[in-house]
Symmetry: C2
Subunit: 154 residues, 2 copies
């Protein structure tokens, strides 16, 4: 597999995997959603090597998920902020958190609770159909080849 062209495969999952499909990137994104923005902060909270952190941040900037913004002119210092494209990764992160809550929990209960500011309640994220609003299940979905692919699949 040529990972460097995975983002050009005729498959939206592959393209997403090309960007966020590794362990460190997902953990870095978690920190971003918890409002972490600076190199040292990522490094100390994740215990990631500085080299890899530098690589991953560059990659996320390159793909337009983070924006590198100066917060100090002299010395030059930057912080990493989620773009709209990055913020749109939220459902992926939340889906993973919810699966972990459901299937990987221990006797101590959930590590984090999420409160919806709009309605004020503690909630779980639920994936629904954009058309009818019903909860989605794999077995109720039929897959067709779209215009971006010739042959039929699945």
């Amino acid at each position: 597999m040529k990972w460097d062209t995975l983002d050009e495969e005729p498959c939206s999952l592959s393209r997403t995997v090309a960007v966020v499909g590794d362990r460190w990137t997902l953990l870095i994104l978690r920190e971003c959603f918890l409002r972490v923005r600076r190199f040292e902060a990522f490094q100390s909270s994740l215990q990631i090597t500085r080299h890899l952190l530098s690589e991953r941040l560059k990659k996320l900037v390159r793909f337009g998920i983070l924006r590198r913004i100066p917060y100090s002119e002299a010395p030059k210092r930057y912080e990493y902020i989620l773009t709209q494209k990055g913020l749109d990764l939220y459902p992926i992160i939340m889906a993973m958190v919810h699966w972990g809550d459901t299937h990987m929990g221990d006797e101590r209960g959930r590590p984090l609770l999420h409160q919806h500011k709009t309605c004020g309640k503690l909630f779980d994220p639920v994936m629904v159909c954009s058309e009818c609003g019903e909860v989605l299940h794999a077995k109720q979905v039929h897959v067709h080849a779209g215009p971006g692919r010739e042959e039929a699949v699945g």
Copy 2:
């Protein structure tokens, strides 16, 4: 980072990442949701090395995401089927597909279209609040430390 104990971290995202947080595993799961079940079928559609495929399938079985079921007694042959725990990964996969459709598309259009059997329409997956049903956005969510973690975060 000790990746072998990532599934015991007091963070549901980490625990999920421990299981599905690598490129091959996510691609293998895509194939599972497209009804692929056999070793040779995974291998030829993904072009993954047989060694890694073997490793990843074992890991998915160990975590209870796939079940290894004999479909032939002599010679012993097995196929890999998603358990309920595995089927519950569907929102993660769909969230990734949707993000790819939205942000990584090219001029040819979507590779795949999804039809909801329940309502009959082509749809997008949308993540909503389990309590009020509103669409979720990162900025409308407040995070609290839960019982599974002592100190407050974010």
